[in-house]
């Protein structure tokens, strides 16, 4: 199996309602896959299942050799390998409101990877600069524009250097100029060898930037 992410017949039910039925897809290293479909079709649910933020009922998820099985979400202590492999950029960014942009990025570096403050800050500053928000390092999340906040959120997700990056509706709050800038960023990331799975209902963006489109139907 050369796939970075393999989802095999993933099914999620809320009570008895099926939110996601038998979704199968693969993402290879360096590949950008768009997961498309109308609102409420289960795109976010699929991403959350891959990130082990929610349980699923049937199927199987394998991320770079780490497998998730149906049933309750395992405790965090058992998820350490998964956390190293998957980064998730939330739709509303979910930046830590009590930390400045730089500290949002250094948090995992310092407390998960055990880097010193100066090491972590160096890495974070580089990341922010590469995403064109280097000058906003000291800003609070509430002071950032939508596009800036998104790029800081990408930097935060990338900081632990995961091979797989999940993004939930990344274009939702972006103007056209920002959308094409985001496209360029994604290509840059895929060139580094990362696999990207992007949930979006933005057809134009998906066709313009994804290597492959998987469409979900209700």
């Amino acid at each position: 199996m050369s796939a970075l992410l393999a989802i095999d017949r993933l099914t999620v039910r809320y009570d008895s309602r099926e939110v996601l039925r038998a979704l199968s897809l693969e993402v290879a290293p360096g590949e950008i896959v768009a997961l498309m479909g109308p609102s409420g079709v289960g795109k976010s649910t699929a991403l959350r299942a891959v990130a082990a933020l929610q349980p699923f009922d049937e199927g199987r998820i394998v991320v770079d050799g780490f497998a998730l099985a149906p049933g309750p979400v395992p405790p965090e202590s058992l998820l350490v390998p998964l956390r190293r492999r998957v980064g998730l950029v939330f739709q509303a960014h979910a930046l830590f409101a009590h930390l400045c942009a730089l500290d949002n990025v250094t948090l995992a570096l310092r407390h998960v990877l055990g880097q010193s403050r100066s090491e972590a800050e160096e890495v974070a500053a580089k990341l922010l600069a590469s995403l064109d928000v280097g000058t906003r390092a000291a800003a609070w999340p509430s002071q950032l524009s939508g596009g800036e906040a998104q790029r800081v959120a990408i930097a935060r997700a990338l900081a632990p250097n995961p091979p797989l990056l999940l993004m939930d509706e990344p274009t939702a709050a972006l103007d056209p100029a920002r959308r094409s800038a985001l496209g360029a960023t994604l290509h840059q990331l895929s060139k580094e060898g990362r696999g990207l799975l992007i949930a979006t209902h933005d057809t134009e963006f998906a066709r313009g930037h994804a290597d492959r489109v998987v469409t979900l139907t209700a």
């Binding site: 830590f96 409101a97 509430s142």
Partner: protein, 492 residues
Amino acid sequence: MIAARTFGVTGLALCLSSSLRAQSAIRRELVWGGDAEGGAPFVEADPANPSRVRGFDVEVAERIARGLGRRGTRFVQVQWSSIDQSVERGDFTLGLSGVEDTPVRRARHAVTMPYFEFREVLAVRPEDADRIHGLADLRSRRVATLGATIAYDLLVAARDSMGLVPLSYDDDVHPYADLIAGRVDAVLLDHIIAQRALRRGGGTGFVILAQPVALGHYVGVFARADSILRDSVDAVLREAMRDGSLEQIFRRWDVWDQSQGALFERAVRANAAPAGTAAASHALAYLPSLARAAGVTALVSVLSMLLAVIVGLVLASARVYGPGWLRVSTTVYVEVIRGTPLLLQLFVIYYGLAGVVRLPALLAAVLALGLNYAAYEAEIYRGALEAVARAQLEAARTLGLSELQILRLVRGPQALRFALAPMTNDFVALLKDSSLVSVITVVELTKQTAIYATNVGSWVVPGVLCAAVYLAMSLPLARLARRLERRWRPAA
């Protein structure tokens, strides 16, 4: 001319009304106030008929009423420390219940001549009797007495000169109970009270030192405006001393001794009472003790809040993260503490636990306040923890932080922002609730103010001073709470 006539008519009316008042006063009963809670031999509820009172002060009041030609007496129950204020308010005409003769009382009210001489005596545990002979032997020891008394003033003076630790109680039973329990090392009180306490305990538990620390006198107290009536009462008392009726009363209650005979002799010979000192200088004299009491209030509040925050955090974490049985038991704790009076909790911790562990008063106060407020803090923290957005916690999980790290690095700091303003409000409330700890002998700001007010016979100046000190402590905190609320209002 018109003015003169008007004055004449008014003057006549005044004369008429005052003579009418005097006429009716003669036939009226003498309304007097005392504290039956103080008990025998002063004033106590008659065991045979609890709606009546008995005691030597009751009989002194009856003797005075007879001497004034009144129809009889009517007793009004009043808290001992409030006798002066009540007599000025007109709740009764004469206050009589082991009321001490002090310069301040003489300056503020119309006070009768002394009718009984008492000795301030020290009570100590039997094993200390050969080591302790006076206040000088009590350096850095704890000495209890009743608040707002000459004995308390003596102890405060001795604190400054000899370094002993005065403790003020609201009643005269618990000082002796705490002496036997080992909480205090000595009790300084009137010899009548000491002897009564000894009898109550079957004559064991402590001994009364023979050498008195000071002498004092019991007097009757009238409202300042009643000085003419007071003079009449002085004449009645002097007559009662002369004709032996007062001696009979004291003998009946077994409080007669040689010093009463000497007092009577002096009183009958000399008519004048000692003069009082100026009240203003007294107000200044109280400022240091008020400052010290404010310090106690601040200390108790800060330590209690610290305890409340720590215990509150533990409780809240248990309620949010703990297993079922822990959630249930912390919920029970929170509801029991919030559902019962703080005063009750204070008593339970200080007196109730005395059989198991004998806590010093200050520690008991901090424990009671801290554990009580911990229940409220726990609810604040629980609400704050639950108010942190789920996405923030999920973002932290996807980064690979452990649950404990998430609590420490993300959830805790964010919850703190929600909790700080209500916490500050709680601290202001605690500052004021700390006044309750005076019931377990901690003299804090409100208690010291009450003592001060009793001694100067007015709540106006002490009340204003006390309020000013509380405001000086709470207003900056309230301001801080408002600023924090503005600054850390969660972004929409």
